[in-house]
């Protein structure tokens, strides 16, 4: 009796797909090389503040490679963690005192406030399509603040070499007394030489 063979027509359960892909990866790239298939993270973030409420950052996919973009993570990093607006004012809640949302709650609450105040757009110059079709995404929606968050595309986006990826970030409420911080995303994907499928 012939050995059981997996084929593209088979509908495989979750674990089998993972195993089959791993097997094909290891068989195809038996001499495992980072030059053949290499996963990477790519940062795209800018420094914003109430005086600099908008900015953009680009990444040029190297020629000769294809970027298989699968997902992204949020990036928020205060320039000065000791700054009053991210870490908060002195002492504890005082009866009758008023605190803005940027100065209330625990640090996770304040970080969420920073995320909610940022809007990001992400675009490819290859086809001029916006990865957030229709415009901008609140950074708070990118991360796990909102449950799982919208941080993974359903399937990998194939981006050819020479394509410029552009991230735009802006503060929704630029009048808020907010200290400087980096805002943006970290892309998760893999670079594959263009002569390989």
């Amino acid at each position: 009796m012939a050995a059981a063979q997996f084929s593209a027509a088979d509908v495989l359960p979750r674990e089998d797909r993972f195993i089959e892909r791993l097997r094909s990866l290891l068989v195809e790239g038996r001499e495992l090389s980072a030059d053949i298939l290499d996963a990477r993270t790519i940062p795209l973030y800018v420094s914003l503040s109430s005086s600099t409420p908008a900015g953009e950052r680009t990444f040029l996919v190297p020629n000769g490679f294809t970027l298989r973009l699968k997902g992204y993570r949020p990036h928020i990093r205060p320039a000065n963690i000791n700054s009053d607006t991210i870490v908060g004012g002195a002492g504890v809640w005082a009866p009758g005192s008023a605190y803005t949302i940027l100065k209330s709650g625990d640090l996770q609450d304040r970080l969420l406030a920073y995320a909610m105040n940022c809007r990001i757009g992400f675009k490819s110059t290859f086809n001029e399509l916006d990865y957030f079709d229709g415009g901008v995404m609140p950074l708070s929606n990118v991360g796990t603040f909102m449950g799982e968050g919208a941080k993974t595309f359903v399937g990998p986006n194939i981006i050819r070499g020479g394509t410029l990826l552009r991230l735009k970030a802006s503060l929704k409420d630029s009048t808020a007394a907010i200290s400087a911080a980096e805002y943006g995303i970290v892309l998760v994907g893999a670079l594959v030489p263009e002569n390989l499928r």
């Binding site: 674990e15 089998d16 797909r17 993972f18 195993i19 892909r21 791993l22 097997r23 990866l25 290891l26 038996r30 001499e31 495992l32 090389s33 980072a34 053949i36 996963a39 990477r40 993270t41 790519i42 420094s47 950052r57 990444f59 996919v61 190297p62 699968k70 993570r73 949020p74 990036h75 928020i76 990093r77 320039a79 000065n80 963690i81 000791n82 700054s83 009053d84 908060g88 004012g89 002195a90 002492g91 504890v92 625990d106 640090l107 996770q108 970080l111 969420l112 995320a115 990118v142 991360g143 968050g149 941080k151 993974t152 399937g155 990998p156 980096e182 970290v186 998760v188 994907g189 893999a190």
Partner: protein, 198 residues
């Protein structure tokens, strides 16, 4: 094992049996591992690095990167002390201190054998910003989560060949906030597979 035999149901056993049949390797030639890479920072040691070498006979496929952060001096009377002041030194609670340090971090991972090429935070070298990783991006508490190079449909690991030397570096963005000893870094979730010719 004959072709008609139903493979073991456990995922790892199925993986090993299928790969062994295809590649002619033994089940002992595969090992799922976790690689903790971290340094201990505080107010004095504000930057440090640690090296790791992939085993000589195995290639490493990295599928996921998790954050690592632990406060070490919880009982010390002089460290991690909250005072009723503004700013980072006045921030209390373990989760607040942990998130504060994660937000105040810079992480890099390089391949020492490939001219220090960045394994994390690849850039096109146009410059203009600090491309280091912020640990909070990998933490649900910080709005992020582990970096995964796989899912049900896609499989694209980071590949580190046998004997490769890698280096993790961690540093604070801002310093002198009364930080006690803190272990900070990442954990690689990987598969070691016996290298060809060994």
């Amino acid at each position: 094992m004959s072709a008609e035999t139903t493979p073991p149901l456990h995922q790892i056993e199925r993986l090993r049996s299928m790969l062994a049949e295809t590649l002619g390797l033994s089940w002992i030639d595969f090992q799922f591992v976790q690689v903790p890479l971290y340094v201990t920072l505080n107010d004095v040691t504000t930057s440090d690095q640690v090296d790791h070498q992939v085993p000589a006979d195995y290639d490493m496929l990295v599928f996921q990167i998790d954050p690592l952060l632990a406060l070490n001096e919880l009982g010390s009377a002089t460290e991690e002390v909250q005072t009723a002041t503004a700013g980072a030194t006045g921030l209390g609670g373990a989760r607040n201190r942990m998130l504060m340090k994660a937000l105040n971090s810079k992480i890099t991972l390089v391949d020492l054998d490939r001219k220090n090429v960045e394994l994390l935070q690849m850039t096109d070298r146009q410059g203009g910003f600090d491309p280091t990783l912020c640990l909070a991006s990998l933490m649900p508490m910080g709005g992020g989560g582990p970096i995964k190079f796989y899912d049900d449909e896609d499989l694209a690991p980071m590949i580190l060949k046998r004997n490769t030397k890698i280096q993790l570096k961690a540093e604070w963005v801002q310093t002198a906030y009364g930080y006690g000893d803190t272990d900070i870094g990442i954990v690689l979730q990987a598969l070691l597979i016996k290298a060809v010719g060994t």
